[in-house]
């Protein structure tokens, strides 16, 4: 029996991991700002952040293609700086996935920060903890459940994406051919054996990840739930 091509699997994991790490870095300050700001533009930012939830992936993919292609200002700048195109490349996929999965990172984190509220941060400040110190030693541990949910959802959602990837990345083995694209191609070429293998693998993986989240949610000493006691 031929070994199935595991290239798409590795590419998918690499994409999901990179995307999740980037989302943790940019999603945290964004979620923090949304949780505590009184700014009037808050609603606008919230709406923009939530757009990927409601837009068909093809719409997002289409606009990304328009803005990232080498003849556009952004895509052109990228070509001049790096010598490679953003579209139909792994980096382009990362950019697309970050935007596509943004709400899955920001919304759980925002909810967690809002549940914590300002009180523990103020208490930390009166204990001589700087804002950054208070964030890492008080807010983050208290938001642990929010972080777990946000990380897992962003990761899993990136693995499950199809439309945006197809529009922005196409189907280039080793560069942009992720699992969902590979499955699509196997089905198109009536290679059901490999389609089964990849699909079953993805199904099992997704189930195990979600199971892990729900089990952890039960076991975690949920600081958020304790706030009101």
């Amino acid at each position: 029996m031929d070994l199935p091509d595991i290239g798409p699997l590795w590419l998918t994991l690499k994409l999901a991991t990179t995307t999740t790490v980037i989302l943790l870095i940019i999603g945290t300050p964004l979620a923090w700002w949304l949780a505590f700001t009184h700014s009037r533009v808050k609603s606008v930012v919230e709406a923009i952040t939530a757009l990927p939830l409601v837009l068909p992936p093809t719409v997002l993919g289409f606009y990304l293609l328009v803005f990232l292609n080498p003849t556009s200002p952004i895509g052109g700048l990228w070509v001049r700086v790096t010598g490679t195109a953003l579209t139909f490349s792994f980096v382009g996929l990362v950019v697309a996935s970050v935007l596509y999965s943004l709400p899955f990172m920001v919304q759980p984190l925002q909810g967690a920060f809002e549940a914590i509220g300002r009180d523990p941060i103020e208490a930390a400040a009166t204990l001589r903890s700087s804002p950054l110190d208070a964030f890492f030693t008080v807010a983050s541990p208290m938001a642990a459940r929010g972080y777990l949910t946000a990380t897992v959802l962003s990761f899993a959602h990136t693995i499950g994406e199809f439309g945006v990837v197809l529009m922005v990345g196409g189907n280039i083995p080793g560069k942009t051919r992720v699992i969902s694209i590979a499955i699509y191609e196997h089905v198109e070429t009536i290679n059901y054996a490999d389609a089964h293998l990849l699909s079953a693998g993805l199904l099992t993986f997704s189930f195990v990840v979600l199971l892990f989240v729900y089990v952890m949610n039960r076991k975690f000493p949920g600081p958020i739930g304790l706030a009101g006691q």
Binding site: P120, A125, T126, R128, L226
Partner: protein, 376 residues
């Protein structure tokens, strides 16, 4: 002694607060007033938790904020401790973890405050391995006080630390609070709306009403002034006077006190002869008579002279101040009684005192009291 001088204002929605005050930071200063008068807001401004506040705050020779808002020392650099009404312990840490959090961030090494001392003084030993969620309200407040002390604050701000507790828990915490200043040598600003706590704990007080300062001064002075009556609430109005213990009556289990040659008796308390006690006498517990009454159960009858009468035309009542030596008793009578007894300034009267409460600070530590850690 460091002084704290402030001239601050803030507007939060429809609420406006504007207070100018110079506080000698010595012992416990009470910030007193009815709910919603702005006392907690003022405390938060002092702590640096209200960034929207305007005005000047100077602590000793350090400027914490200036009128033009260019200098604003953030809360974590002011070196003050804050005990919140709701304790605000960190739920993800144990009690020991909460204490360590504070101690790790304390910068001053030359301080009488150390972990062992705080744990002993506040009886935190048995709680150390527990999570905040498993503590009672009183225990939580004790941990919060200990945690704040361990930052070695230069000034301790306490925002109604007892308000969320029932009477029994209050009684459990009060002894700890009243020993804080001497045990750890840190001045305290204590927010409360309970006059009993003011009398028991504070030497100096500021009265706030609707975001404005109504009175300030020593607790004795402020409480005998009629103009703070509304802020203190009518029924709780009263005065504080100092009396010396002259002896005990073992048969009737009474303690005898002397106030300017007049005797006051109260249920026996274990206080050494010669010590001074602060007595609080509420206006509603004082009855006036124009002749010495006979055949009456009240034992405490002081003679004095009326020095002020304030009529309250909207109500049935009037308040009368009676000079009894160095203090002035306050009595709350009906206006009808004032008229029918022809009470007027200068008239000698007998003041019958139905009930006396005293300030426990003059007492030696009861057997159950926590061990004290002395500075140095």
């Amino acid at each position: 002694m460091t002084a704290l001088s402030l001239a601050v204002r803030i507007s939060l929605g429809s609420f406006e607060l504007e207070v100018a005050e110079k506080l000698p930071l010595e012992g416990i200063t009470a910030l007193f007033g009815p709910s919603g008068c702005g006392k907690s807001t003022l405390l938060r401004i002092i702590a640096g938790l209200e960034r929207k506040s305007q005005g000047r705050i100077v602590f000793g020779d350090e400027i914490w904020q200036t009128d033009d808002g260019t200098d604003f020392v953030p809360a974590h650099r002011r070196g003050v401790g804050y005990v919140f009404q709701d304790a605000r312990l960190f739920p993800h840490l144990t009690v020991a973890g909460n204490l360590a959090y504070a101690e790790k961030r304390s910068r001053s090494v030359m301080s009488p405050i150390d972990l062992d001392g705080v744990v002993t003084a506040l009886d935190l030993g048995p709680l150390l391995t527990r999570r905040p969620s498993s503590l009672s309200g009183g225990e939580r407040q004790r941990v919060a006080i200990g945690r704040t002390l361990l930052t070695r604050p230069r000034l301790l701000l306490m925002d109604e630390p007892l308000a969320a507790l029932d009477l029994k828990r209050k009684a459990e915490i009060l002894p700890y609070v009243e020993r804080l200043t001497e045990a750890f040598d840190v001045p305290v600003i204590y927010v409360t709306h309970a006059i009993e706590e003011v009398v028991r704990l504070a030497g100096h007080m500021i009265v706030l009403a609707s975001g404005r300062k109504v009175a300030d001064g020593s607790v004795e002075e402020v409480l005998e002034r009629l103009d703070v009556r509304d802020a203190t609430g009518r029924f709780e109005a009263g005065v504080v006077l100092t009396a010396r213990v002259t002896g005990h009556d073992p048969e009737y289990r009474l303690t005898l006190l002397d106030h300017h040659g007049q005797t006051i008796v109260m249920p026996a308390a274990d206080i050494a002869k010669g010590s001074d006690l602060r007595l609080r006498i509420r206006a509603r517990d004082v009855v006036l008579a124009t002749q010495r009454p006979e055949g009456i159960s009240v034992r405490n009858i002081l003679t004095g002279t009326i020095c002020e009468i304030v009529q309250e035309p909207e109500t049935a009542f009037a308040e009368i101040l009676v000079d009894v030596g160095d203090a002035r008793l306050r009595a709350r009578l009906t206006r009808m009684a004032v008229a029918e007894l022809a009470l007027e300034v200068g008239k000698p009267v007998y003041a019958l005192i139905k009930s006396v409460t005293f300030d426990r600070r003059a007492l030696p530590a009861p057997p159950t009291a926590p061990a004290l850690i002395r500075p140095g």
